[in-house]
Assembly symmetry: C2
Homo-oligomer: 442 residues x 2
Amino acid sequence: MPKYDLSPPAGTRDFFAEDMKLRESVLHTVRDVFERFGFLPLETPAFERVDIMMGKYGEEEKLIFKILKRGEKQSGGEADLALRYDFTIPLARVVARYPEKIGRLFRRYQIGPVWRADRPAKGRFREFYQCDVDIVGSRSVNAEAEVILVLTEALSAAGVHNFTVRLNSRKVLGALLEMHDIPTELHTSVTTAIDKLDKIGVVGVSAELLQRGVPASKRDGLLQDLEAHVADPGHIRKRLVSLPSGEAALRDIDQVTGIVQPLMKHGKLVFDPFVARGLSYYTGIIFEIAAEGIGSSIASGGRYDDLVGMFSSNEVPACGGSLGIERILMLLQNTEAARERQNVPQVLVTIWDENLRSDAFRFATHLRDHGVSTEIYVGEGKLSQQIGYASKKGIPYCAVIGPDEHAKSQVAIKDLRSQIQVLATWDEALQTLKRTAKTPLP
Amino acid sequence: MPKYDLSPPAGTRDFFAEDMKLRESVLHTVRDVFERFGFLPLETPAFERVDIMMGKYGEEEKLIFKILKRGEKQSGGEADLALRYDFTIPLARVVARYPEKIGRLFRRYQIGPVWRADRPAKGRFREFYQCDVDIVGSRSVNAEAEVILVLTEALSAAGVHNFTVRLNSRKVLGALLEMHDIPTELHTSVTTAIDKLDKIGVVGVSAELLQRGVPASKRDGLLQDLEAHVADPGHIRKRLVSLPSGEAALRDIDQVTGIVQPLMKHGKLVFDPFVARGLSYYTGIIFEIAAEGIGSSIASGGRYDDLVGMFSSNEVPACGGSLGIERILMLLQNTEAARERQNVPQVLVTIWDENLRSDAFRFATHLRDHGVSTEIYVGEGKLSQQIGYASKKGIPYCAVIGPDEHAKSQVAIKDLRSQIQVLATWDEALQTLKRTAKTPLP
C-alpha cells in the first residue's frame, strides 16, 4: 500500500460529532435569527468562473484556490473555475444575473464554507464558514441599522453577551483627512495606517504615514488629532461638527446609534472614529464588533455602494455584515452551554440473540417513531460488550430484551450512570426514556 | 466593463429562497431521521489531497475536479488537492486516521455537496448533495438491515411513499456465475452486463456477454436462467437453493428481509437477483430503491468489506447507503407539501417617516422577540410603495404605525390578501400575528 498522509489538507478540519454539536447549534441559532429578521437564504455554487473572481481582491488574489480544466485541456495546466473566496462576489453576480428576482430591494443571507489559501494559524483556516447578511437597493441608514441589529441579536442568541459595536463611517475618516488637506489619492492608504492605531499606537502610525508618502507637515496635524483622541474620545466629534462634510457624517452615525442602541439586548455601541476596516470597498457606515477575550473582531460590515453593482450596468447601493463564526465558536467552546449539548443517542437497544433480534428492531422502531434517538447494536459482540460499547460512547441508557422480558412483553432499561435497572412494558419504557432525556433514572 | 458570463458554472445552480424551502426542509427531515437512528454527523473538508483520490474511481477518475497549487508552484500547472467526489473515500481516510475515535463499531452520516465534472443533464449536476449513512466494523446482516431501515424511514418522512427496495447480494450473483462455470476474472464484467437486464432485455445482455468475452457455450446456460427468471421471478431462488454458496447467499437475503419488511412504513421490499449495482466494490448484500415516476434509483447501497479499509492496515468490514437527494427533490417538487412551505417573512413593518422610525424598529423587535419572522422596510419608498413591495414579495401582513397609531400606542395590521385592516395594541397585534400565521385575518 502506498504511504498516504491521512490528515485533512493543511488548514482544513475533520469534524466528529463532538466537534459538530456546538458548531451546528450555533449555526442553527444564527440562521433562525436571520430568518426572524426577514432575511431569506441564497445558496450559490462552491466555485465560480475564474474571470468572475479575478481582479477583485487586490493582493489577496493569490489566496484564491483555482480549479484545473478537465479532460484533454487539463494538461495545459489552466484553470477555468475558482473556489469562492467570500459571499460578496457571488452576491454581486446574482444581483446582475437575475434583476427580476432581485427587484428594487433585496435582502438575503448566506451561510456556508469559503476557501482561502491563507497561511494556517490558530483561528485561521483555509476552509471556514461565513455567515453574511446583505441588503441591496437602499441608501437609507435604516439598512445599516437593520444589519447591525440582526448581527447583535445573533450574537445574543448564540450566547455572546460581552461585546462592543465600534461604529464609524468612511465619511468621518474622509472629512478628517480633508480637514488635514491630505490628497484624495492617499486616503485609502492613510486609512489603512490609521486602522492600526489600536495595535501600534500613535508612534507606529506616524512611521507608517511617512512610509506611505504623507508629507511631514500634514502628518503632524493628523497625529495631533490622534493624540488628542487617545486622551479624550470626544475630541474628533468636536473637530468634525464644524465642517459640513463632517457634520453629515456624524448625522449618519447618530441616526444608526439612535435606532440600534435602545434595541440591543446585550453589549454596547460606541462611536470610534478610527475604525477603518481593511477593505477598500466601503463607502459609508462601517462597523466592527469586538468581544472580550478575543483579539480580532467577531463581526464586521458596512455600506459598500459600488461593490455589489460591479457586474451590473446600473448603480446598486448595498450594505451588509458578516459574523466571524469560527472565532465566535472559539469563544463559546468552553462554556457551560457547549458542554450541555447532547451528541449521542439517548439509548442503545441491545440484541440478545438471533431469535430475539426482531424484538430488538421492533422496540428500536417504537422508540424512534416517538422521537427518541435510538441506536441498535449491529456488531457481533456479547451482551456485556454491547453494554460496554454504550458506556464508552456515553449513551446513557441500554435496553435489553432477553427471553424473560420477551415472555412478559417487557423490556429492561438500564441506566449506565447509576447502574439502576428497571423492568417495564414497551410503552412505560418509552415514557420513561422520553421523560428522563436528561436526568438519571430514579 | 468586461463582458462576463453571469450564469452559475455549468452543472451548478443558484438557489433562491423559493428553491431552498423544499430543499432545506427535506435535508432537515433526512438529518433528523438519521440522528433518530443513532447515526452521528461527520464533516470532512470539501477537498482531499490529490493522491488520496487518485486510483480509486476507475474510469470516473477523469471526472474529478483538481485544484492547482498556489503561489509560485501555480505556474507548473500541477494539482495538489481535489474536490471530494463522494463521502466514501473521506470516510476511509478518517477510519484509518483516527482509530481511537472510530473504535470497533462506528456509525456516521454525512450530508453535503460533492463535485463531479460529469456532462450536465436533466437531474445530473456537477455540484449536488449526497446523504450517506455507513456502519463500520460489523459483519452482521443486522448492519445492512439498519441501513435499509434508516433510508426507507427517511423516504417515508420526506413524503416519498411509493417505492420498492430491490434487494440482492453479490453472493447471489457469484453463486449463479459459479453455477454456470463462468471464470472468476469475468465476474465483475458479467455482473455489469446483467445489471442492464431491465433496460436492454435478454437479447441485449446476450450481445454484451459475447462482447465481454464470455464463451458462447457458457453464455447460453446463463441466458436460459435469465429468460426463466423473466417468466417466473421465483426461478433463481429454486436454482440457487441447491448450491451451498447459493443457499448461504439466500440466507442473508432472507434475514435482512425478515428484519426490514415488517418495520417499513411505506413501500415494499423484493428479492431481485439481477440487481448488480455498477460499482465493483460491493462484497455482500446490495440494494437499490426505485420510485414510481423516476427512471433511476433514489437510494442504494450495500456491503463493501474491502473499501473503507483501503487506507488501514487491518480489514474493516462496512456497509452503507446513500439517498439520491436531488432525484427525491425532483419527485417532491410538485407536491402539495412543497407548496405549503412558507418562504417569506410573516409581516412587513413599514416606516412612516423619520420621526416614527424608532416606533417601527421597536415594534419589529417586539415581534421578532416572540418568534414572528419580521422584515422592516429599509428602502426609501412611500407607504404605498412599501405595501406594494410586501404584496409583490408575498408577505401576508403589513404593520403601519402612523401619527394616529403612535398617539394611541397602537398599530394597524393590514391583511394584504383580504385587504382587511385592524387597529390593535402592540400585544394584541402580536397575538393576532402569531395566531394567524397561516390563515387570513377574520
